[in-house]
Amino acid sequence: MRQTFRLFALLLRGYLRDRTALFFSLIVPLMLMVIFGYLNLGDFGRVSVAIDDQSKNQSSAQLVQILKGIETLQLTDLPTDQALTKLRRTELDMLIVIPQEFAIAPARPGQNVPQIVVYGDDARPQQVAVGRQIVAQVIDRLSFAITQTAPVIGVKEETVQGVRLRYVDFLVPGILGVNIMQLAIFSVAFALVADKQRGVLRRIMATPVRVPNLLAAHVLTRLIIATGQVAVLLLVALVLFSVTIVGGLAPLFVVALLGSILFLTIGFALAGWATTENQVPAIAQLITLPQFFFSGVFFSKNAAPALIRPVTNLLPLTLLNDALREISVQGATLWDVRTQILGLLIWTVAGFILAVRLFRFEKF
């Protein structure tokens, strides 16, 4: 422990003296955020949704009313067959079918729960993801209100205020997750492989230093930097994009840091394995790209082929993004996202073991 902290103190001091590295470690995430934020904002607009209300009762009218109140959604009434055609032509993003015996009422045991069918346009997965999330949230809140037997009318107002999910709100947790992943893996892998090539690691390994302590000191150093990065990203998200963070900042930070540690261990494993700097980007891309596409950063996770979805759902970045998004968008607490946290911890342990195992200061 003492060894870890003494090494950490010196590594951090060295890192903070390196102004260029420091600059880039804070500027790059900022740029990513701004670029992705603006790019996606521009082309996103609103989600166009068709509603086929087959029940036309009080309950369905109430649901439609709530959905209409949400600014992100652009609602039209259309029968299913027409809507599906439009959907295929990508003139629509989503179709919501409200079945005939729809009711907003507490379900009794054995009774069928009313099923709302949601069709999404595969070509516009981002919009569909946002739309689905909004619908899910509205239904969550309605159900919650029902089971709490709170007056439904009161809930309606709350819902209209609460569900103001815009695309940035959906995007920011994802960007946060991606940044955490990229920075942790790339910065660590490059720096350590450089150390390896210059012979720094050889010199250190000529001492009886305990490898887990050395790795932990490196992890702690990067964690301090990562904390700064997360803070900057959140600040920009709040100030520039006025992102709504429904859940607390504290749980968001906790999960973000857990994610950082996880990806740092993966970065170390990669750095331990690689012998030249040229190997780093290739392998790093191999690790990060699939996650980038399949873990719901910019695209809905459901855009991944169903066959591989069981796998993509377990990817580290998927777990991280899910947790961040649930906290940020749905106001989840740490306890609510405990499955994801558990998943992150399992990955972290695996990453650390891998890092210690693969740690080679030179190839022999």
């Binding site: 001091r13 060295g14 720094v200 050889r202 010199r203 250190i204």
Partner: protein, 252 residues
């Protein structure tokens, strides 16, 4: 007294290359031992096996009473090393660099005293990367002394240094020896070996071809009837250089 380094039939190959071909020797406690040989002779390979940094393919070796193959960490605790090619962590001062290595041994040391020992006390706050070649070698020796090693391994400590800095380093090595530390060094400079080492081993293509005190090796050669083709000059160019530029170290 048992030798502090014992090597028996040590072997190492890299694929096709037989870098070390079954060498045996020992180093007495307290001596300065030199391993000489042309490029690629296998010096670094031998030294780094003894330091617990490379795995051997065969043979046996003990350093400071510890079996190198069984307990490399135990060896590392008892020795100090300067590698032929290595670098220090980025962006640390000379003093912090010493502290970093002390932390690697989980020791707290008087960093300034160590820097004083290698005549770098005034450079304590200077970034390590901005030290001159000679200063960096001395810092490197300071980092190798943090654990008060029983054996100090120096792989080509004077390569790339000017004559003054080399002589300065010889003084330092002698003072380390005077404190009772065994010094095991490699070098290409034969004058250095002659002046500094109590005994030298000459290595060629993975074998030790001679091992004796320098004086004895020279006498043996003369005994075999060797004469230099040209008469030994009374002075050489290095003497001229030192006469013109003085013996004072330049970058202290």
């Amino acid at each position: 007294m048992t030798p502090i380094v014992q090597v028996n039939d040590l072997r190492k190959r890299y694929g096709e290359i037989e870098a070390v071909r079954g060498i045996s020797f020992f180093v007495e406690s307290g001596e300065v031992f030199g391993l000489l040989g042309p490029n690629g002779a296998g010096k670094t390979t031998t030294v780094e096996i003894l330091e617990g940094l490379r795995k051997a393919d065969g043979g046996a070796a003990t350093v400071a009473g510890v079996d190198v193959f069984r307990d490399p960490a135990g060896v590392k605790r008892r020795i100090g090393v300067q590698l032929q090619a290595s670098a220090f962590p980025d962006n640390l001062t000379a003093r912090e660099t010493v502290r970093f290595f002390a932390a690697c041994y989980d020791l707290v040391v008087d960093e300034l005293a160590l820097l004083r020992q290698v005549e770098l006390e005034e450079r304590a706050r200077q970034p390590q990367a901005k030290l001159s070649g000679g200063q960096r070698q001395r810092l490197s020796i300071a980092t190798a002394l943090v654990n008060q090693p029983q054996v100090l391994f120096l792989d080509e400590p004077t390569t790339g240094l000017d004559p003054q800095a080399r002589r300065n380093l010889w003084e330092l090595i002698r003072s380390i020896q005077a404190r009772g530390t065994t010094v095991f060094l490699t070098t290409h400079y034969l004058d250095e070996a002659e002046i500094l080492c109590d005994r030298v081993a000459i290595m060629d293509e993975g074998n030790i071809v001679a091992l004796d005190p320098p004086r004895k090796l020279i006498d043996d050669l003369l005994g075999r009837g060797f004469t230099k083709p040209v008469l030994q000059q009374k002075a050489n160019l290095e003497d001229v250089f030192l006469d013109l530029t003085g013996h004072e170290i330049r970058d202290a």
